[in-house]
Point group: C2
Chain length 238, copies 2
Amino acid sequence: MLTTLQATDPGSRLAIGAVAAGVTQMPPKADVLGSLKPLAAIVRFDRDEEIVAQGGKAAYCYLVVSGCVRTVRLSEDGRRQVGEFVFPGELFGWEALDAHDFGAEAVTPVTLHRFARLDFDGLADRDHGFARRLRELTGIQVRAGRDRMFRLGRMSACERVASFLLEMTERMNLVDRPSIELPMCRTDMADYLGLTIETVCRELTQLRRDGTIAVERTKVTILDRRALAAAGCRRVIH
Amino acid sequence: MLTTLQATDPGSRLAIGAVAAGVTQMPPKADVLGSLKPLAAIVRFDRDEEIVAQGGKAAYCYLVVSGCVRTVRLSEDGRRQVGEFVFPGELFGWEALDAHDFGAEAVTPVTLHRFARLDFDGLADRDHGFARRLRELTGIQVRAGRDRMFRLGRMSACERVASFLLEMTERMNLVDRPSIELPMCRTDMADYLGLTIETVCRELTQLRRDGTIAVERTKVTILDRRALAAAGCRRVIH
DNA sequence: CGGACAGTTGAGGCCTATCAATGGTGGTGG
DNA sequence: CCACCACCATTGATAGGCCTCAACTGTCCG
């Protein structure tokens, strides 16, 4: 509406287009926490272990050192939504209010730095740079959330899966490499994308048959990145 | 956040349940901006007027004084996603990075306070309280985004519409009153909920036939709040 | 009055969920 | 070492929810 999309130079238009197409922004692997590190406890969790409980008191937040974490919400009737996957160098749990609205679980064995939220806020009060980077991080997180909103609200299954694969290559810093090892199982992918496992499988198969990717269990090789980026338009004819 | 709200009493667990059911949290109508107000410019926009362009440079952010604003993303093929509706007392545009990933348009005639992002950041540097409230606001925004994510990814059309109506009564501070005047048209609702206008209509009709609500154009009266809260389970049998 | 527009309702089709069965892999214990 | 089991992934058949296309109504406004 009101498409006076005036201007904003041609470039930015394209950039947004890319985002809308599912290429989500990647958080900078900044050491946001520099001066906080001495206060960190190192904690480890096994695969599928619960790190924070949904509804649990938000006493700590975490920085992923190695491995992969998922945040999850489970509704009473068993429906499950994965909020996000968290990769090394990224934070989670710091934006909670009093309680964690999403739980967190280890997708793979993980090593984490754990910070007391009190220390966290204290540092933000003392250190403007830290507070500023925190606000920047906020922007990144909110933006990522909006990308996912578009994906869930307006993308077909095929597009969701294709954009997911592209997102993962970015998130895992493997843009230049064709092959990625997905840490999460199909169920996690499905609950992240708002689909069923079966549909995720079928779309992967479809992309494989098209010669766009190769799949063997958790390893996905992107054979044709351009086609993957364009994927999904096949079925959505407007 | 971290505001010694550490009273994770039994209630908070329930609260999460309610959130998962689609009752989103309402941002506090705090005057977050106290000391910034002198720097604000007052701006007005007519219905459907563009306030910030999608992809536009993020020079300003806004506080809604009166009226309602929607944030929108438009993809190249015309698909549209409404990111959020912004009501009086709430901010938008402050979390942008370099450019606005969503545009903003006036749903109704609106009056806004406009702030330069630079002033905004400057104040955050000087005023810990402001910075802290900003972080708190972040948490609220991220949480609301997650609620919508669950809605878009895991809720049926009926549930989405029902939870939307409940969200609006909360957002507009009309929880106690049965009748609300929705400021937005069906198209906006549909693009917010990831549905089509027709489906939104049909679900409203269904709720009306059930005796749960009464509808006349933009005015919706909630006849049976309990039934509305439970709505949608009808079609999702697990 | 007529035209534009938002909202509503109906018919039909597609996309995705559901139900079900099979194949493959890893772990465990005989 | 291999049988067995549990679990994940894949594929097929079918059903159903939501979208698409279309027609109609009511309202506003020139």
